[in-house]
Each structure stands twice: as C-alpha cells, then as structure tokens.
C-alpha cells in the first residue's frame, strides 16, 4: 500500500479526470487509459490496473469518478472474476484473464445455482469430466444474470462423485461463446426477465481455466461469494440502490389518502406498523455503521436481510389492504393495482434470492447466537450415494 493520504488521492484523481475525460473517446480507449493510470482497480497492483491504495481510498476514487459521470473504476470491488483469479489463480491465469476483464473487454456471469441445488449449493450435479487438456461440462445452471453478454461464466461443477459433496467440486472460468451453451430467459412471477437458465451440453473448458485444484472448488467459491456479499453490502449502503428497496416513508399515508381510507382506524394501525419496521431497520443500519464494536455491527448487518424481507412483504400486504379491489387488476391501465401486485410478488426477490430467509436464519442462529448446526448424516458419504 502506498502512503498517499486521502486528500492526495482525491486531488490526484480529480486532476487526472480533469485532464483526461474526453467525450469523444470510445469505450475501449477510455478503459485502457483508466487501466494504465491505475484507476481501474485502485487498491490492486499496477499490473492489474491499480496503484496500491487502501480499499477505503478505492471508494474515494469511485466517488470522484461518479461526480463527473465517468465509468471504468471499481473493478477491485465489482469484478468477481478478477477478484477471485487475483487471489487464487496461477500467474498465467492472472496475466491472461485479469487485464481484459478489468478493462471491460471481457464480461463474466455466474454459473452457481442449479434446479436441484439452491439452498444446498454443494449438492450441484453439473458434471466436469476430464478429457486431455480440457474438461467436458454437462448440466444446467439457473438464476444467471447477463448470461447473453458474458464471455466467461464462473462455473462450479462436479469433478469427483466418489468423495463427500464439498470435496468433489471444481471452479472453472468457463467460455460462454461456444456450441453446447444454450441460454433461455427465466420468466419471473413479476413478468420481468432479469435471469437466465443456462443449458450446457458437451461444452469444453480448458484445464488451464481451472482455478485451484480439481476438488478444491468449494473453497474458491466461498471466496468468490464473500466478494459478492461485499459488493452487495456496498450497493445496499449507497443511496441510489436503497431508494429502490426502502419504501418511501410517506407513501403509505399518501396512498391511503388517495384511496380515501386514511380515516380507517385499522388502516392507520397497519400503516404505522409497516413504517415502524422500515424505520427501525434504518436505525439498526445507522447503529451498525457508527458503532466501534465489530460484533455489534456484524450482528446488525446479518439481521438486515431478514428485516428487509419482512419490510417488503408487510408493506406490500398493507398496500393491498389500502387499494382493496384494485389489487385484482394489473397492466398499464390499472397503475395502482399493478404497482401493488408487483411489490407483492417482487418481495420474494429479497426473501428467496441470495439465500432464503430460512437459510439466513440458520446462519444468524449459528454464527451470531452460537447455536449448534443441524446434524449432517451424509457429511462423510460419497456424493454418488446421497439420496436425491
């Protein structure tokens, strides 16, 4: 790490942006400039587009870029492929894969979940079979965003069926643009399609793209997931994305007034109940951010997801009560009912996505309260012998 102060960093990035921002530059040219200047991944080494700043300073750089509407920084927090390869890849993998990814010349997606492996991700059944210098992949992945535009998929697949489930998984940087990779959008209950299914049939990935050992993918995945959680935490802390999640404090009162039910004693109680959930969660987040006690902060952050699920489901439920029969209607000619139904259904995005609330309660119960895990009867059994 360098010994630049925060003010040094701010000053330097501002000056650089002032000298270099040029709307006439193409995307590739701009990205290369940012990379060469060490702003792509400020907390990394120069070889990977960085300049050895602290991660807090990397956020300062991101803020300065955002102020002038420039893109191309923050790969040290947002580029899951490079984060993972930089930590656990070989020198050859780092040189080949990181620079183009950091510069945005190659794009990645995540190939983790499967129809049969959701909460129990280690139960995945996508096969990886060694064939000379390649591995042949067969299986199905789900909940993949940006699959159509990705060059690589961060893929976990089973390399060994004769060892316990966590020990027979490989982590691959899988080329997406090849025969045998079929991408189909998933139609969500909200009517949107943000995710895809990826069907993989006899597709190939070079052995040179295996990160870690053939049976060591679970540990690589844990690292990749930790980076993903850090990114999600970053996004949740920025005002822009929380605005989507946090129901506007006055919206329930405004909605009830518009629907002519603000005088209803029951509705008033329900409004206050829903708003108390959102408000108290905000106070929890404030306490987590300001406390110097790390255990206290970790406890509160771990509870945030469960709290947010409840806020979203409860707010949607009360909105349904407020609009009454309008909740039967949808479409652009029924904006009130349409919005309420969308919120009702989209609340599951939070209570299921990224680990269900039930799994999250297990994690909090075990890590925060220190309660024992469920016994795992198949802990030492070969994966092939597991019932499914």
């Amino acid at each position: 790490m360098t010994d630049m102060t925060d003010d040094d960093v701010r000053g330097e990035v501002r000056a650089w942006l002032a000298d270099n921002v040029d709307p006439a530059l193409g995307r590739a040219e701009w990205s290369r400039k940012v990379f060469d200047a060490g702003w792509s991944a400020p907390s990394w080494e120069p070889a990977w587009g960085g300049r050895g700043l602290s991660s807090a300073q990397s956020r300062l750089v991101a803020a300065e870029f955002a102020n002038v509407g420039a893109y191309g920084t923050g790969a040290d927090r947002a580029d899951m492929l490079s984060c993972t390869v930089r930590d656990l890849g070989t020198e050859e993998q780092k040189h080949r894969l990181i620079p183009p990814s950091v510069r945005g010349e190659t794009r990645w997606c995540l190939l983790y979940s499967e129809p049969g492996a959701g909460s129990d991700l280690a139960g995945l059944r996508t096969r990886a079979d060694r064939d000379g210098d390649d591995w042949i992949i067969n299986g199905q992945k789900v909940w993949t965003s940006f699959a159509k535009t990705a060059d690589y998929g961060l893929l976990v697949a089973r390399t060994d069926w004769d060892v316990p489930k966590h020990k027979g998984i490989g982590f691959f940087i899988f080329p997406m643009r090849q025969p045998g990779v079929e991408i189909r959008p998933i139609h969500q209950i909200t009517g949107e399609s943000e995710f895809n299914e990826v069907f993989i049939t006899d597709a190939r990935v070079p052995h040179a793209n295996l990160v870690g050992e053939p049976g060591g993918g679970w540990a690589v995945l844990q690292l990749a997931l930790a980076y993903e959680r850090r990114l999600m935490g970053d996004l949740a802390r920025t005002a822009k994305s929380t605005r989507d999640l946090k129901p506007d404090a006055d919206s329930l009162i405004g909605m009830a007034r518009a629907a002519g039910v603000l005088g209803d004693a029951h509705i008033r109680q329900e409004i206050a109940r829903a708003e108390s959930l959102a408000t108290v969660n905000r106070w929890n987040t404030q306490r987590a951010k300001t406390t110097t006690d790390r255990t206290e902060a970790a406890t509160l952050m771990a509870l945030g997801k469960i709290a947010m699920s409840r806020i979203l489901h409860e707010t949607a439920r009360i909105q349904t009560e407020i609009v009454g029969p309008e909740s039967m209607l949808t479409g652009s000619d029924n904006p009130v009912g349409d919005a309420v139904t969308f919120r009702t259904l989209n609340a599951y995005f939070t209570s299921i996505g990224g680990g269900t609330d039930q799994i999250q309660r297990n994690i909090v119960g075990e890590r925060v309260l220190g309660l024992p895990k469920e016994p795992e009867p198949y802990r030492d059994s070969a994966f092939r012998d597991l019932p499914h």
Binding site: R268, I271, N284, Q286, R361, G365, P372
Partner: protein
C-alpha cells in the same frame, strides 16, 4: 446527532451493570416482589450515592444534569434485571414533570431531596379506563382563597403505596393543573392494586376534599404532563429493550444446552429460527431506544413521531421476546420458579403504563399526517 455511546457513557453502563448484578439478582427481585413496599432502601441509598437518582435533575437542583442518552443507558441495565425500585416514578417522571411545570419553588424544594434519596414521589394522572392522562379529567380541584382541595380517584399510580408525595392531575374551572398532595393528607386514601407484574407496584388514590398545593400555573398541567411522559418514555423504552435483550439471551443460552433427541434443541431449525426472530426484535428495540434518546438530546424535529413509533415497537418487541422465551424453554418455562414469566409480566405491564401500542401508532400517523 449520534446514537453511538461515548467512552464515558460506556463506563456508566458498565458501572450500572455491576451495580445491578450486585443489587438486583433474581433472589432479590423475588424477595421484593413478595414485599409490599417492593423496594430496598439500602439499594436506593446506593443509587443516590452514585448520583443516579438525580441523573436528569439539573445541577442547580442537586442533580447531574445528564441527558436522555445517559438515562437510556441506565434504564436499559435496570430493565435487564427487572430492578424493583421506584426509579421511573420518583427519579424520572417526577423531575421531568416539575421542570416542565416550571415552578422554581417546588423544584428547589423537591428535586434536591429526590436526588439525595430522601423523597419518594410519584405522579397520579390516569383515571379508570386509560393509562394515559384522561381526555376529560374527572378529578376536580376547588380553590378557597389560596387553599385548594381535590376530590376524585386516580389509578395505575406507580409506587403509590411508598410515595411520600403525589403530584395529582386535576381539573378546575379554568383548566387542568398539577397539585402536590402529601402522604397522610386528610381525605386521601391509598390502596395497593394487585398487579400482574409484582416488580412494579401500583396503587389507587381516593381523594375527598383533600388539601393540595397548586404547582405551576392553572392551564399548564396537561402540556407539562404530556411532555414529562414523552421524556420519561425514553427511559421506559430503554428498559423494554434491556428486558428484551436479556430474555432473548436466556432463550439462546438455554437452546444451546438443553438436549432432546440426542441433540441441543437449538440445532432444530424450528427453535433456532425463533431465537433469531427474538434477536431481531431485541436488537431493533435497542436501536430504537438509543435513536430516540439521541433524538431527544438533539431536539430533533421528528422526535415525537420517532418516539411514538419506537414506543409501539419496543412494547410489542418486548412482549414477543418475553413470550417466545417461555415457549423456547418448554415445560420449565411454565413453572413459577423459572424467571421467564417475570419478563413476560413486566413486558405486558410496560406495554400499557404509558399507553398501549395502538395508542402510540395512532399518535404516529396523526403526527405524520399533520406534516404531509
């Protein structure tokens, strides 16, 4: 505004925590529950010596002049152990009321004695039907020259049987006012109420032409009382948060050691998830209590709406956690000897004494409505 504690406030918390461990172990709580006074004079003297009885009393009246945040820190620790003492009535509600009434003579006479532990005082406002101050106060005050007399009935009066002085809300021709009535005054009778929560004693006052002194002016009483109840609620919700934290920890500890089917019951998701839900409620109550205390110290414009929301939330959270704690304990939690039910009794009382959750939620919407 910050809801983070300073080092000094953390030291205060640790000191109170030690004191509570010494002065209010379960055996002592049970002894005082069975005692009519519900109050240990030696512990009270120690609270006075530590400056806790005058915590929020201004220095000019012999107190420490501390803010809402310090009060919340102290109250949270008291709530954890179900301290049996007239703290809320004498050391919190009464001083806030006298200061809000702005009667310098009464402040100078009463507050230093409260801080020193020499005067036990309480406030009598509720009448049958509501634990909040009545919308139409039936207890009446009649003046004969400078001498007032009160007639009526007050109920849900905290620590009534041990108070030396009562500040009684009454109605006269020109509005509502607060009057001081001394223990033993003619026409005053004090009867204990049989309470579900024996750690907080309550009583009923009957006044028949009872001589009383007017405190502050006529017409100022209702607003001063509301303000004092709001400031005191900061202490109440912190007690609720402390009680909820303790009950949650009881459940988590027990679920980690109690074995059935050859495994700790906390390894069953049905039990584990209950414990996590309790953790969420207890931590949220704690955040709410601290936020509101900081908001009062900073005189935030939204503090009353925040308090209304927090008071409803903390009441429901403490009741939920205390009730779920019994469920997690199973059979042993159904016994009188186990302390789990003491927390539910306290939680159910705390959820009523300054108005129930529905009342506070309605207040919240009213405040928000006026602002939008």
């Amino acid at each position: 505004m910050s809801s983070v504690l300073t080092d000094q406030q953390n030291d205060l918390r640790d000191a109170i925590s030690d004191l509570m461990a010494k002065r209010s172990p379960e055996a002592q709580v049970r002894r005082l529950m069975a005692d009519d006074s519900g109050h240990d004079t030696a512990a009270w003297a120690e609270l006075a010596a530590m400056g806790l009885l005058g915590l929020t009393i201004p220095e000019e009246f012999g107190g420490a002049g501390a803010g809402a945040t310090e009060l919340a820190v102290v109250s949270e620790q008291m709530g954890r152990v179900l301290l049996c003492a007239p703290y809320l009535s004498t050391a919190v509600l009464t001083p806030y009321l006298l200061l809000a009434l702005g009667d310098p003579a009464e402040c100078a006479e009463a507050l230093p004695r409260i801080a020193a532990g020499e005067l036990l005082a309480t406030v009598a406002f509720a009448e049958a039907g509501s634990a909040r101050p009545p919308e139409r106060c039936v207890t009446s005050a009649v003046a004969d020259g400078d001498q007032w007399t009160l007639t009526g009935e007050k109920t849900y009066v905290l620590d009534a049987t041990i108070a030396n002085r009562f500040y009684v809300q009454a109605h006269c021709d020109s509005g509502t006012a607060l009057f001081a009535v001394e223990r033993g005054a003619p026409g005053l009778s004090v009867a204990p109420l049989t309470t579900v929560d024996q750690t907080r004693k309550q009583g009923r006052l009957t006044l028949a032409d009872t001589p009383a002194r007017l405190i502050g002016g006529v017409g100022k009483g209702a607003a001063a009382l509301d303000s004092a109840l709001d400031q005191s609620a900061v202490a109440l919700i912190a007690e609720q948060a402390g009680g909820a934290m303790h009950a949650m920890q009881m459940a988590a500890d027990y679920a980690g050691v109690r074995h059935q089917f050859g495994r700790a019951i906390g390894s069953f998701q049905a039990v584990k998830h209950l414990c996590v839900d309790m953790l969420l409620e207890a931590e949220s109550a704690s955040s709410a209590a601290r936020h509101v205390a900081a908001a009062f110290d900073a005189c935030e414009p939204d503090r009353l709406a925040d308090l209304a929301l927090a008071q409803a939330y903390c009441s429901d959270a403490f009741v939920f956690v205390a009730a779920t704690n019994i469920q997690v304990h199973g059979g042993i939690g159904f016994t009188w000897e186990h302390p789990a039910h003491l927390y539910l009794r306290r939680a159910r009382t705390d959820a009523q004494i300054f108005g129930d959750s529905n009342w506070h939620r309605e207040r919240y919407v009213r405040l928000r409505e006026d602002n939008s």
